[in-house]
Amino acid sequence: MQKYSIFNLVKNAFSNHENWDLAWKDPTPKEEYDVVIIGGGGHGLATAYYLAKEHNITKVAIIEKGWIGGGNVGRNTTIIRSNYMHDENALFSEFGMDLWRKMSQDLNYNVMFSPRGIINLAHSDAQMNAYARRGNSMRLNGIDAVLLNREQVKEIIPMADFSEDVRFPIFGGLMQPSAGTARHDAVAWGYARQADSMGVDIIQNCEVTGFDVTAGKINGIRTSRGNIKTKKVGLCVAGSTNILAEKLNMTLPIETHLLQACVSEPVKPILDRVVTFGAGHFYISQSDKGEMVMGGDLDGYNSYAQRGNLPTLQHVLTEGIAMMPFLSKLKMLRTWGGIMDMSMDGSPIIDKTHIDGLYLNCGWCYGGFKATPASGWTFAHTIAQDRVHELNAGFSLNRFSTGRLIDEKGLGTKTWIS
């Protein structure tokens, strides 16, 4: 594989950049693979990459119904953080933060990781107490956290509404300085290019239509481009998890829901952090192009539509304007929706299943993008070793029936039903 470097850039300039290698190939499916990953999104691509890199398993296929990076990895709000209170989420995400910091070098692909910090705003004394507790938990797990008072927040984001007579005055906030954003498409492309170079077959426009399971063991999959034999299948399909689970006669603690995001017209640099509103669900950052990138709540009902409705968008942006009134002057450039695999406790599932050789990776809710490297790394470990790693041991499928939920928000289950 051609290395991306200043030297190769100059060299290829002499041939008008017409002789660059393809970033990844377009292979026809082979008859048999050691591992088949279903889903060519961020998590699937990362899984294949770590299978090859960490476990030396390269006879791997990624099966993607559409095109790689065309799902949620290409339509999220690019936020990366590890500001969790519970050990399972905190240690897993912080492991991921390390991978993020090294990712551009590791993949030889600029993923534009920008550790600009995230601030969660607090709007009451009680919320400040809760954030102090969360911050302490984070620091005990080695994650950086700073509790900011009102004046300190004002210094960092003076454009927020600091007037006294608003419904939700800003009392302060919790900041994770090492959190940030990254270029989401580059993450998918970087993983794809490296996985491909190590021998992984990335098979696009190929729909999985069924599974061959005999005597509780997986023997292969059926696809729109023929049958493929394999002893190990990793399911990594986010919002489509239930559709494939149905083909396996599995019912999972997952509902598929619609989440919208939007960007404003590009404006000059004003916001150099990620900020979240504490009295609702709204988050914002500014992209390198200058657009304000915004998101918030689910639409709230089961949906596979990848297309949202106005009431939720209106609700989310009302929160945004309450927090930063200048937003009301901006024009909306684009809105879009994606489908989320909402787990019943808000935490993911990375586990083996009752079918031998079938592995499950789902339940990412609002937070799939930031988990991409850690999810791929632990899922690769789980598949290669046929046992969970201690980092994903808590993300088990049976935690629901055994009562070991990881309820990070403390809101109970099915938070979309309110």
Binding site: N242, I243, E246, T251, L252, P253, I254, E255, T256, G300, Y301, N302, S303, Y304, A305, N309, L310, P311, M344, F400, S401, T413, K414, W416, I417, S418
Partner: protein
């Protein structure tokens, strides 16, 4: 914007309703021995169908009645609405 026909009040905007999830889920019978698995299925596990989906909504900012709605989860088309206790054939 969804428009939902409340069987009590008529056609109203989505803004007046809140969502209650899959209406096909049945609570295990009272005072009967049940397994953890049955309880698990009732509380957590969902089919989350793509296509026709029978679901509960509440006309929260209206008559406050719970209703059943038959809706397509891929197109958002609403086929039919029923009163909560109405038998669906």
């Amino acid at each position: 914007m969804l428009h939902i026909k409340c069987p009590h009040c008529g056609m109203r905007s989505q803004n007046e309703f809140s969502y209650g999830g899959d209406a096909s889920v049945k609570r295990p019978e009272l005072n009967k021995e049940i397994s953890d698995e049955e309880w698990d299925n009732f509380v957590y596990n969902r089919k989350s169908l793509r296509g026709k989906h029978l679901e509960l909504w509440q006309h929260l900012f209206g008559c406050r009645q719970w209703i059943k709605v038959e809706r397509d989860t891929a197109t958002h088309e609403i086929f039919n609405t029923y009163k909560a206790d109405e038998e669906i054939t």
